[in-house]
Subunit: 134 residues, 2 copies
């Protein structure tokens, strides 16, 4: 199977597949004319990569898990450590996204009652500068 076909089968951009090849997550053989040949094993490996990505692993994490597996080690202990790490990070990011969204929603709400400002030199945009709530 060639790159485009594999990409189609998994509904990902062909450039994503090529990115994984470039960064060593997939290592397909090449045929005589230089085209990549993705075997069933590569296919399974791509499925693994995509599932791991869905679970919040970084590509570096995935590289490490794949290295474990190919060097005969169980990747599971690393997977457990890494997912805890990524989950902590994801929760932090989620929190900051939540406060961002509510900050933005408050601003939009407050701005509805406010007129546009004319540029008068003592502020840049009173909407933005005005509503501090800390």
């Amino acid at each position: 199977m060639k790159a485009g076909e594999l990409a189609n089968r998994f509904s990902v951009n062909v450039n994503t597949v090529r990115h994984y090849v470039r960064s060593g997550l997939l290592s397909p053989d090449k045929d005589a004319s230089g085209y990549h040949y993705f075997s069933a094993e590569e296919e399974r490996q791509l499925a693994f990569i995509l599932r791991a990505r869905e679970l919040g692993f970084t590509l570096d994490d995935i590289r490490q898990l794949l290295n474990d597996a190919t060097s005969g080690e169980s990747p599971c202990p690393h997977a457990r450590e890494l997912i805890e790490l990524r989950l902590t990070e994801a929760r932090q990011k989620l929190n900051s996204m939540q406060s961002l969204v509510s900050r933005m929603e408050s601003a939009v709400r407050e701005w509805q009652a406010l007129p546009d400002c004319a540029p008068c030199g003592d502020h840049i945009c009173h909407l933005i500068e005005g509503g501090h709530h800390e």
Copy 2:
């Protein structure tokens, strides 16, 4: 006021200040020896930038708002449009972060009952490959 002092006053990394200078959001004059001189106006402008950043505007957005203001236009209409745009994006990102976190939490929960796998050739990591729920 020089870069480091300004950065301290606003509790931001001095490199952030320098980044804003480099990308044209701040345009301090320079003294004879080549050092940047941040006036009270620059200071107010940095405060504006930081507040806008808190409200989810991109640096490009902020650049546009500053351009409006310096070209004598009221930035408020743009601010209103842009914040709606960024809010929509932020909500989408928040949603995807929420589903990511719950996917990760489910995985961690399920994995507690599962043993580490030995690498047996027909899977890479059964923890990761196992639990699809779509």
